[in-house]
Each structure stands twice: as structure tokens, then as C-alpha cells.
């Protein structure tokens, strides 16, 4: 089938990648949500003729795609950069097996850590796993490169990685839709043990194939039209790729530029010839000196990280300043009160963390909205490393401290994160027997990335009903004898349960369950906001201790206070912004003076 339109669309990089997958005839796509990659799968799920799913984690997602490829259909796996660490196991060996149907992995890096715990540069994976990697610079290229990736995958018997960064994924630009292509591979079961069974004898043979393949891809790179030289004046030459290319064009419109559409393997002859024809060579790349190291290894002299930062993301001004010293900035920043992100009004996590803040324990946290429990006034998270780390780490603390550590540490993990990587840690706690307590903050959804359903939500990616994972039964099956479920909006009850379970000399799980306020059913639910009664407020600030965005402190001068009938010591009062309140009642539970009540509907 061929569809063609000349009308340009306005899309984000992620939307363009979804369109590219559709145009490339992808049949099976699996991924785990992660900023900045999430919207690829979300958008792809809206196209006809392609199966999409949210996998429990990136390793499962890539293995699902690999299986689909083994039976001869085009398959896609999507993930953020740290997700690639989880998927690294199948990644490295799929490089050896190769593919039958085209297999592409879209990897989204996050320079500047807008929404991540580190800013690792995943171009290193292409080198380490011996796989080709393409890097687009804008939404149009994202779509085209994805289609090229499938062609390369089937032409060279290789998985292909397409790398984006936040400023590709979440940049919108004009995109031309194109022709729908497809694979020439016939789907079906094909047994080919020498290719698919990676026992040492077979793997040694495939290892040779990998070397040959990468050699052929290096030759291909020399003539690949997306590795191209844009000649300008010859004094300064730039080798760059991805988003950095656009910054270079903006900062140095007159310069010569070698734009690499494929960042691994590299076109050595092209690079060498370019280097010879410019006076001074600059390698411009965000994060690691990846191109720089490999170009220097060719024996080519160039500037790179000696001038240009290796941390954070760029903009044209950063590159211009690094190379010429010019700085167009007129005004320095002024000091202002900070405005970090915060949990939403009515967020169930707030109740849990408030209750937890009273326990004086080390909270081994995890990745999700609930990581914001780290911020004051709740200040209830003491570590956050990667998906699942809290559950395993709390067991390590127990083994290190023995009886002295009893009741002093607890793990907190979200529902989606628990399914992603927490289950094995819990099995370890039971199997190797420690007194550890794990709190599953279950808000029924993968919230931080934008409310994607997960195996415990009861719906699939399309919103259709799906089997709902039962955490209580799962934990009991693992062998946890003490599994208690609480409603975190009821903070006094939660506090009581936490105290009991944290001090229990056996493994225990507390499931803190209440839905995220942003899931559609909660958004639709009519909420009755709370209201402050100023006459009753003593200015004790107890309600402010939960840090809800719907409550704020109103300072008053002594004169104003006297007029309002305040006692001399009272410096102000609390006030609820009714338009923000979601009616969870946490603040009302904290008020001892009946100053917070349900707002009666007249």
C-alpha cells in the first residue's frame, strides 16, 4: 500500500518517530515510559496495523521486539537512556544474533538531566555493542532516519539504534509525511540455531560475522548521504551531529560543517579528507567526547572538550563563546526564591511521606513522582539511584547493621517501578531473610511520565481492560507474611501501620494505595474543596507541614492582626486556594482548631 501526501505536518520529534515507524511498516513495538521517549509509543498506539504495548521494563520490551524480529516482522523498542542500561543484556547479544525482520531501538538521552538521574551518553553503547547508530537533528530527520534504520537493519543483519536527545524528542517542527514502505522478509517461524542459539561455539562464529558487518558498515558510512559536508569558508571546520549541528549552523553560518547522520561506525576517509581541507577542526558534541576520542584515535588533530563543555546541553551561544569568547548576554541572573517542581494538590504520596517523616528513618527511595518527597517540608527521602535500587539497598543496610539497624530504614517504591525492577529485590529480602520493610506507593499509574497504564493499572496502552496485577497476592506468594494496605490520605492510620511494620523483625510490605489525581477517572470525579475559617486559625502552621500547593501562609502586620482579633503572637494565617484544592482532606486532619472544613455547596 502506498500513501502519499505533500501537506506538511507540525510534530514533535517523538510524534515524527511514531509516524516514521508507521511508514516503515513496523508491526510490533514495545517500550517502557521514560522522559524524553514516552510519546513515541503513545503516538504509535494510535496508528492502525501496528501492535504496541507498555512492557514492565526495557529489557522485556527489547526482548519482545527481538522475538518479533526473529519471526520476520519489523519491530521497535523504545526507551530513555537509563532504560538502555536495563536492556543492555539483550542488546549486546542481539548484536550477535542479528535479525530477520528489521529491528530498531530508539534511545532517548537527556543532556542537562531535565527529568533524569544522570546524563550518560548512550553513543557509547553503539561502540560497545558493535551496532550502527543514527542521530537525527530535528523531527523531519527523526522520521526519515527511522525508515533508513529499518533498511540498514535488514540490509546488514543488525539491530540499529536511533539516538535522540530531549531537544529532538520534545522539539516541534514541520514534517512531510512520506510513502509507506515495508519489509521484504516473509513472516513465519524459521529455525536457524547457528544464528539464534548463542552458545559459545555458535557465538564465536557470529562474533566473526559482527566484525565483518561493522567493517562493511564503515564502508557504507563513507557514501551514506546523511554523512555530508556543507562547505563554507575553510578557516574553521566543524564535525558534529544531532542537535549540536543546528547550534553550529546558527553560531557559525559561514563555516564548513561535516554533519554525521550516522555516529557509529564513523566514515574515517571522509573525516580525514575534511580535516585536511580546513585550517582548524572543531568537534562539537553534547556530553562525552565520543566523536573526538575516535577522531583523535585516527591521529587527527582537533579541538573538542578542551574548549567546549562536556556537561549539560548546549545552545548556539555556548558554542560561540567556547570558540570565540564572544558573549551576547547582557544581564546576569538575579537571586530569587527557588521554584522546584512539587507534588500536585491532593497527591496521595504527600500523606504517605508526611506519615513517614515522623518515623525518623532512612528512606531508600526510587524513581517517580514520589522522588519529590525528598523536597522540604516533607524531606522524606534519603537515597534515589535507579529503578528498584531502594528495595535491594534497604536489605543491604539491614545485613550491614544487623540488630542495630532494626527499625531504622525503609524502602519506598512506586507501583510501576516495583513491577519494573522491585520484585526481584523483594524476593531477595525474603529469601535471604532480613527485617526489611518495603512501602509500595501504589497510585495505579505510571504518573511522572504522564499517566501511562502499567500491569497493576487494569488497562493496556489503548485504555482497554487488562489483567490487573494484585500486589497483595504477589507479595504473599513471594513469601512476605505481613502485607498491610493503607489509605495514605488517612495519615494517622498510616503512621500507626508504618511504625508497626518498620519495627517488625521480619520482612513486611505496606501498600499505600490511592489513585493519582491526574488519571482521567480522578479528574472527572467531582471534588469538594476544603476551606479555611480564619477566625479559628491560630497561625500554628501545622497544615503547611505537608507542603500542599493549595495552602499558603498569609502574613499579617501586628495592626492587621489586632483588627482581625488575632492574639499578639499570631503572625498570620493559612489560606486554601479553593480553585487548586482537590479535597483530599490531609490538611484538615492536621488542624487541631477546626479551621479547615469542607466547603459547603450552597
Amino acid at each position: 500500500m502506498t500513501t502519499k501526501s505533500t501537506d506538511k505536518l507540525w510534530m514533535s520529534g517523538n510524534e515524527a518517530l511514531a509516524l516514521g515507524a508507521y511508514e516503515a511498516g513496523v508491526k510490533v513495538a514495545s517500550g517502557y515510559p521514560g522522559t524524553p521517549s514516552t510519546e513515541i509509543m503513545e503516538n504509535l498506539s494510535k496508528y492502525e496495523g501496528v501492535y504496541t504495548e507498555w512492557a514492565p521494563n526495557e529489557k522485556v520490551g527489547l526482548e519482545v521486539a527481538l522475538g518479533a524480529s526473529f519471526v520476520g516482522v519489523r519491530a521497535l523498542a523504545t526507551m530513555k537512556h537509563v532504560g538502555m542500561n536495563v536492556a543492555a543484556d539483550p542488546l549486546f547479544t542481539s548484536s550477535y544474533t542479528g535479525i530477520r525482520g528489521g529491528l530498531v531501538i530508539i534511545n532517548a538521552d537527556d543532556p542537562e538531566m531535565h527529568s533524569s538521574q544522570n546524563e550518560q551518553d548512550n553513543r557509547n553503547y553503539a561502540f560497545a555493542a558493535k551496532l550502527p547508530m543514527l542521530e537525527p537533528c530535528d523531527p523531519q530527520e527523526a522520521k526519515e532516519f527511522l525508515k533508513t534504520a529499518y533498511w540498514l537493519s535488514e540490509g546488514y543483519d543488525t539491530p540499529v539504534i536511533v539516538r535522540t536527545t530531549t531537544r529532538i524528542a520534545h522539539v516541534k517542527g514541520q514534517v512531510s509525511p512520506g510513502e509507506k514502505t515495508g519489509s521484504s522478509v516473509t513472516p513465519g517461524i524459521v529455525k536457524d540455531a547457528a544464528k539464534f542459539v548463542m552458545l559459545p561455539a555458535n557465538a564465536r562464529n557470529r562474533r566473526k560475522f559482527v566484525t565483518e558487518r561493522m567493517k562493511k558498515l564503515s564502508e557504507f558510512a563513507e557514501t551514506f548521504p546523511e554523512n555530508r559536508i556543507e562547505w563554507g569558508d575553510g578557516t574553521r571546520g566543524f564535525i558534529t551531529s544531532g542537535i549540536s549541528y543546528l547550534y553550529v549552523k546558527e553560531a557559525f553560518p559561514e563555516a564548513s560543517v561535516l554533519k554525521l547522520g550516522m555516529v557509529w561506525p564513523l566514515p574515517e576517509k571522509m573525516i580525514r579528507s575534511f580535516a585536511e581541507q580546513v585550517d582548524e577542526l572543531f568537534i562539537v558534541e553534547e556530553l562525552d567526547p565520543f566523536l573526538e576520542l575516535h577522531i583523535k584515535a585516527m591521529g587527527i588533530r582537533c579541538h573538542g572538550k578542551d574548549l567546549i563543555p562536556a556537561e549539560g546541553e548546549f545552545n548556539p551561544a555556548i558554542i560561540r563563546k567556547a570558540i570565540t569568547g564572544e558573549d551576547a548576554t547582557q544581564f546576569a541572573p538575579v537571586a530569587l526564591p527557588p521554584r522546584p517542581p512539587n507534588m500536585c494538590p491532593g497527591c496521595p504520596h504527600r500523606g504517605l511521606f508526611y506519615a513517614l517523616s515522623k518515623q525518623k528513618v532512612f528512606v531508600a527511595g526510587d524513581i517517580g513522582c514520589y522522588t519529590l518527597g525528598f523536597l522540604p517540608p516533607l524531606s522524606s527521602m534519603d537515597s534515589c539511584v535507579c529503578m528498584g535500587a531502594g528495595v535491594s539497598a534497604v536489605h543491604g543496610m539491614a545485613k550491614a547493621l544487623g540488630d542495630d539497624g532494626m527499625g531504622k530504614a525503609v524502602a519506598v517504591i512506586g507501583d510501576s517501578t516495583f513491577v519494573h525492577s522491585g520484585i526481584s529485590g523483594l524476593i531477595n529480602i525474603v529469601y535471604n531473610d532480613s527485617y526489611s520493610t518495603v512501602i509500595i506507593v501504589d497510585n495505579r499509574i505510571t504518573a511522572m511520565t504522564g499517566q501511562q497504564p502499567n500491569p497493576a493499572s487494569g488497562t493496556n496502552i489503548k485504555g482497554e481492560p487488562a489483567q490487573m496485577l494484585n500486589f497483595e497476592e504477589l507479595c504473599k506468594a513471594i513469601g512476605v507474611k505481613h502485607v498491610v494496605t493503607v489509605n495514605p490520605h488517612n495519615m494517622s492510620e498510616t503512621k500507626k501501620v508504618l511504625k508497626e511494620e518498620i519495627n517488625r523483625p521480619e520482612p513486611s510490605v505496606v501498600i499505600s494505595r490511592a489513585p493519582c489525581v491526574l488519571i482521567p477517572s480522578e479528574k472527572k470525579r467531582v471534588k469538594i474543596p476544603y476551606n479555611t475559617i480564619r477566625e479559628n486559625c491560630t497561625g500554628c502552621k501545622a497544615c503547611l507541614g505537608i507542603g500542599c500547593p493549595a495552602i499558603h501562609w498569609v502574613p499579617v502586620t501586628p495592626e492587621e492582626g489586632a483588627k482581625l482579633g488575632f492574639k499578639e503572637k499570631q503572625k498570620g494565617h493559612s489560606e486554601i486556594s479553593i480553585e487548586l484544592c482537590n479535597g483530599c482532606g490531609q490538611c484538615a486532619e492536621l488542624c487541631k482548631f477546626d479551621a479547615i472544613t469542607i466547603k459547603e455547596d450552597k
Partner: protein, 196 residues
């Protein structure tokens, strides 16, 4: 007309900055320009300080505006206008919603909202147009239309016909919110003429 422009939208996550920048982008596209827009999703959206960068012209490369190169800054919250001062230069045009949103340190009484915060801009001879968009949106009957009031004011700085915006909103905004948003847009335009 100016063929090149950099518009920085800034404010607090949840104020509708994405929709405001989207309506503006579609209007520039309808006028035949190349447009690139950069936004941030994920953690930063949860009530934190957020921006959207919008660049238009005959040919646009970078999707990010460099510091010192914003032609127009549309600030949805007063203190946020000042936070992005490094993006401004003395001839930038600043549109400010004077409605305050208190960050946690202020809401909990640990710090105070800086007094006369816009003086930080006027003392540097930066031109501002400041008004309470929240009040206008309330008057129109939809407090969530603050973002479209801002688009209305911004539209008077851009060389695009009013009808182009109205067409875009007719096409892009769900029917049940449409009329109130178009009204908010027109109120924003009126206000711009009165105070500009």
C-alpha cells in the same frame, strides 16, 4: 514585517504554557513561516518553573533561544519574568501576568514573595507590559483561560491577522472551551491596545 523572531514563554507548570505556545506556533505557521518550538515534559511540569522556546522566520536552525536573544518574553507569573532575565536584552519586549503563584518556600512562610519584583526589569530599562491576566480570565468566566489572554496580548506584537488566531483556535480547541477562549483572546488584545 519582521521575518525572524524569538519568543520565550515562561511560567509555572500547569498554567497552560504549552497550549499558549502551540496556538502561537500554529498562527505563525499559517502565516507561512518556518517555526521551531522546544518544550520540556516530565518532572519539570509538576508546578516547577517551566519555559517553551518558540523561534520563527524564513529559516530557523536552533530550537533553543540563546541567552540575550529573546525578542519577546511572555511571562505567565511575575517572579518567573525576572528569573529569565538572562534571556532578555534592553530592547526585548516583556509581557507579564502580575498574578502571583507562590512556590513552596513562600507558601510555607519560610521566605517572602519579593516586593516590587518587576523593578529588577524596569531598572534595567526593559520595556514591560504588566497586567493581571488572571483577573481578566475570571471576568471572561474561565480562570484556566489565562494562557489565551496572554496569547491575545502577544498577538498585538506579531504581524499576523487576528482572524488567523481565531481560525487556529476554532480548529485546535475543543468545542466546549472554544467560545470562552476566543473571548479571552479578544480581551487580551483589547488590553494590549489600552496599556501598550
Amino acid at each position: 514585517m519582521s521575518e525572524q523572531g524569538n519568543i520565550l514563554f515562561c511560567g509555572v507548570g500547569g498554567q497552560g504554557i504549552l497550549l499558549a505556545s502551540e496556538v502561537t506556533a500554529y498562527s505563525l505557521l499559517a502565516a507561512g513561516m518556518e517555526v521551531r518550538k522546544s518544550e520540556v515534559h516530565g518532572m519539570a511540569q509538576r508546578g516547577g518553573s517551566v519555559t517553551a522556546h518558540l523561534r520563527y522566520g524564513d529559516k530557523v536552525y536552533s530550537p533553543l533561544i540563546s541567552p540575550g536573544e529573546a525578542d519577546i518574553v511572555v511571562a505567565f507569573e511575575m517572579m518567573e519574568a525576572v528569573r529569565y532575565l538572562p534571556y532578555m536584552r534592553s530592547d526585548s519586549k516583556i509581557i507579564v501576568n502580575t498574578h502571583k503563584i507562590l512556590p513552596p518556600v513562600i507558601a510555607t512562610g519560610k521566605m517572602e514573595y519579593p516586593e516590587n519584583v518587576l523593578d529588577k526589569l524596569t531598572s534595567r530599562d526593559i520595556h514591560l507590559q504588566a497586567f493581571d491576566a488572571f483577573e481578566i480570565a475570571s471576568r471572561v468566566g474561565e480562570v484556566r483561560a489565562v494562557n489565551i489572554v496572554m496569547v491575545g496580548v502577544l498577538s498585538t506584537y506579531l504581524p499576523i491577522d487576528e482572524q488567523v488566531y481565531v481560525d487556529v483556535m476554532n480548529e485546535r480547541i475543543p468545542e466546549r472551551f472554544r467560545d470562552v477562549n476566543i473571548k479571552a483572546f479578544q480581551e487580551g488584545r483589547k488590553l494590549a491596545v489600552q496599556t501598550g
